[in-house]
């Protein structure tokens, strides 16, 4: 009885109601190791891999591939090989899905019942967000570690604690929640091991070795005749230039091969899919942001906020999207989802990689709200705390590389969103004014990539025109 565990439909994000098994990677009767992929599950928003959280055997598949089931429904049964088939059957028959009507998970203080806690199941099913206040009742874990485990939905019962008597610390949970480390190793140096018969500084020995100079018998200018860097440099035929050239010749430039981490793999997979399946077309324009820059300076003072230029762009894009419902869309195969309000994605170069959280209902927010919201998302992104809810629902993402000194670039659409804006840098351009005079004005380069399946060229162009007029005349708009 002990080693039977339910595998249920996971809940990814509060909006997820049901999911479809797109593929069973592990077949019925097959064993699997912790970390191996058990199945691929599709929701209306994403397709994701379900990883095993322990070693085990998939004894029974309850839900075949292609079938859609609500969150919490029994998909399969894990059990040791010595558990008789009859018990597995009884378990599958008597399984009752927990009520998933309310969101379980992040910051949830209520002791929500774990979806899989039945009379026989002893551990939560993999990926099912079932970590609640009561999950660690008999565990040697610090209070902060427990809080973090509930917040990040980490199954702390699987952690071997580093504290005294195996106590689980905050750090243990934090580490368990992070992707595998990708260390950029320097490796061993191509310098011979220390030669004690030479009296020289380590740097001098290294330079000598790299330049093929024998320091034996050389008396340096350092204390007690120790050879220093200067002594070695003086021995070079062409003092000064040589060491660098030799360093370049001798440098070991073998590439270091690193397996992509999970986040990198997801980014790679999604972008490949987007660029190869979405018919992109591009609209480019330069916006005169002279007025907006001044407007922002004063506006931030008046509102006592520190909103970035990007926050102002988010605001304008939100308004323009609502004015152009045919651009404010998501594309799901042959269905177009039109949104009444504007959810705008913001591309963030987080420590772990590119991530695009979404600011919701931007059209209803003022600039200080937006600034707060983006600051919050950036903070969450950098601490790896973004949830699925933060990432879904967008129709357009703003990707800004202006601060990196980029003039302009094109971006790949972040599916299922309908379009993406690539914001370049601001340059000072001599411009002909209405009265025929010339003036240096600040120009912002903007390139929009649209999904032609849903957005036509004219629709995209009209959206750009509205956005341009808002940006160039901020006082009329904001």
């Amino acid at each position: 009885m002990k080693n039977i565990k339910a595998f249920t439909m996971p809940k990814w994000g509060i909006e997820m109601q049901e999911g479809t098994i797109s593929e069973w990677v592990v077949k019925e009767g097959q064993s699997f190791k912790k970390g191996e992929i058990i199945a691929l599950i599709e929701t209306d928003k994403i397709s994701n891999e379900v990883e095993a959280e322990f070693d085990g055997v998939l004894r029974k598949i309850v839900t075949p591939s292609g079938q859609t089931e609500p969150v919490g429904a029994l998909l399969g049964v894990f059990g040791d090989t010595d558990v008789p088939d009859g018990e597995i059957e009884t378990f599958a028959q008597s399984f009752e899905a927990a009520d998933t009507g309310t969101a379980v998970g992040r910051n949830s203080d209520s002791a929500a019942p774990a979806p899989v806690e039945t009379s026989v199941a002893e551990a939560p099913a993999p990926s099912a967000p079932a970590i609640s206040d009561t999950s660690f009742d008999n565990l040697n874990i610090s209070p902060k570690a427990r809080e973090l485990a509930i917040e990040l939905q980490v199954d702390a019962t699987q952690i071997s604690g580093s504290g005294r008597n195996g106590r689980i610390t905050y750090q243990d949970v934090h580490q368990a929640s992070r992707p595998d480390a990708a260390v950029d190793l320097g490796g061993a140096l191509p310098v011979p091991a220390d030669d004690e018969s030479i009296f020289a500084s380590p740097l001098a020995k290294r330079l000598a070795a790299m330049n093929g100079i024998d320091l034996k018998g050389v008396t340096g200018a350092g204390a007690r005749g120790r050879s220093r860097k200067e002594d070695v440099l003086a021995l070079l035929p062409d003092a000064g230039a040589r060491p660098q050239a030799s360093l370049a010749e001798n440098a070991d430039n073998t590439p270091q091969i690193v397996e992509m981490d999970k986040i990198r793999k997801v980014i790679a997979k999604r972008l490949t899919e987007a660029k190869s399946t979405i018919p992109h077309f591009y609209i480019r324009s330069d916006f005169d942001v002279e007025n907006l820059l001044e407007f922002r300076r004063i506006g931030n003072k008046v509102l006592s906020t520190k909103a970035s230029l990007n926050d102002y762009l988010v605001k304008a894009v939100g308004r323009a999207l609502v004015e152009h419902p045919d651009v404010n869309v998501q594309v799901h195969d042959d269905k177009i989802h039109y949104y009444p309000h504007a959810n705008v994605g913001v591309a963030i170069a987080a420590k772990s990689g590119l991530i695009t959280p979404v600011v919701k209902n931007v059209d209803l927010m003022d600039i200080s709200d937006i600034s707060r919201a983006t600051t919050q998302l950036i903070k969450k992104a950098n601490t790896g705390k973004l949830g699925f809810a933060d990432l879904e629902g967008g129709t357009l993402t703003i990707s800004n590389l202006g601060m990196m000194g980029v003039d302009q670039f094109d971006a790949i659409i972040n599916p299922p969103q309908g379009s993406i804006l690539a914001i370049g840098g601001i340059s000072r351009v001599m411009t002909e004014m209405e009265d025929g005079s010339g003036e240096f004005r600040s120009k912002l380069s903007v390139a929009m990539s649209c999904d032609h399946r849903a957005i036509d060229g004219a629709a995209g162009a009209k959206f750009m025109a509205t956005l341009k007029s808002m940006i160039e005349d901020p006082e009329l708009f904001f």
């Binding site: 209070p143 902060k144 570690a145 504290g163 610390t169 750090q171």
Partner: protein
């Protein structure tokens, strides 16, 4: 509850334990304190007044004045422990640790291990330690760091009269050698002490002051300074957990880590010089096991790497103080 000085709490506890168990024997230099007398009522009970009246009550077989040889005191205590007694030896100044180091480090601490776990040595060594009383470099040191680094010993550093009583009772009843460090500048410290017998388990720290922002770890006299600093900081809205370790071996790791996980900032106060000591030990524990929680580099407030100076002004400048501790707390809060 009675308000007692720490030295009175020690004396009461010795009295009570000797009365409870006839195997308890105290020995040390001048602990009868009867120089020039036959013992008896005139005996002052040692220069610290922590054994006053014991001779009168329990007699010369159980209250033993020894020759001036720390090695002999500890050797005798170790032997008494091995043969079924519960000796409480006194080293008048912990600084004399050096001359009895073999007996402590190589004998007492090792008996249980050298005899394959078949023997026990329930000896207590009371050592009077610490600076602040203008006693100069050879009578002011705090050797808890050296002792804590020795496996086989339990190291106790009480900071209040109530703790002194509970911890000394535990020490006398413990089956292993215990070093009981009494700070000479705390002897006159007053505090409420519960009536009757009670024990305080080793390895259980005390939260002397509670706050959300910075964790201060201290032991012995430093707990008093840290608490004073924490009280001042509290008026500025800065909350400090002050953890009184009580015993540096065993160490209450959970109390330290749990607090740092909550505050993210650590200040360790140590009366000893900074190298290879209690402060470095705690900082290393926290950086190793609570790195993920730290919001600022841990701070150490210790004496400088120099012997305790004799001049009053220099000695004052030498020791950690509430002001120095508060400054360190502010540094952890100012970390950007």
């Amino acid at each position: 509850m009675a308000e007692l000085m720490l030295r009175e709490a020690i004396l009461q506890t010795l009295f009570a334990e000797m009365e409870r168990d006839e195997n308890v024997v105290v020995l040390g230099e001048d602990i009868v304190g009867g120089m020039g007398t036959e013992g008896g009522p005139e005996a002052i009970g040692g220069i610290w007044g922590t054994s006053t009246g014991l001779y009168d009550k329990f007699g010369g077989d159980r209250v033993i004045d020894t020759p001036i040889s720390e090695s002999a005191i500890i050797g005798a205590a170790g032997g008494l422990g091995l043969t079924g007694k519960r000796p409480v030896a006194e080293i008048m100044f912990a600084d004399f640790l050096g001359v009895c180091m073999d007996q402590i480090w190589n004998q007492m601490a090792k008996f249980r291990y050298m005899f394959g776990g078949k023997t026990e040595c329930p000896a207590v060594v009371r050592m009077i330690y610490g600076a602040g009383l203008n006693a100069a470099a050879q009578h002011s040191q705090a050797p808890h760091g050296i002792l804590t680094s020795m496996p086989g010993l339990k190291i106790v550093m009480p900071s209040t009269p109530a703790d002194a009583k509970g911890l000394l009772t535990t020490a006398i009843r413990d089956q292993d050698p215990v070093i009981f460090l009494e700070h000479k500048a705390l002897y006159a410290e007053k505090g409420e002490v519960p009536e009757g017998e009670y024990t305080i388990p080793f390895g259980h720290a005390r939260l002397a002051h509670a706050g959300e922002d910075v964790t201060i770890v201290a032991a012995g006299l430093m707990v008093k300074f840290a608490t004073k600093a924490a009280q001042g900081l509290a008026e500025q809205g800065i909350g400090c957990d002050v953890i009184d370790l009580r015993t540096t071996s065993p160490l209450d790791e959970e109390a330290i880590l749990d607090s740092v996980e909550n505050t993210g900032r650590l200040v360790v106060v140590d009366e000893s010089p900074p190298r290879c000591g209690l402060a470095t030990d705690i900082v290393s524990l926290v950086t190793n096991k609570a790195y993920a929680s730290l919001k600022a580099p841990p701070e150490m407030v210790t004496s400088p790497h120099t012997p305790v100076p004799f001049a009053r002004e220099l000695e004052k400048a030498y020791l950690p103080s509430p002001g120095k501790i508060a400054d360190a707390v502010q540094r952890t809060l100012a970390w950007k």
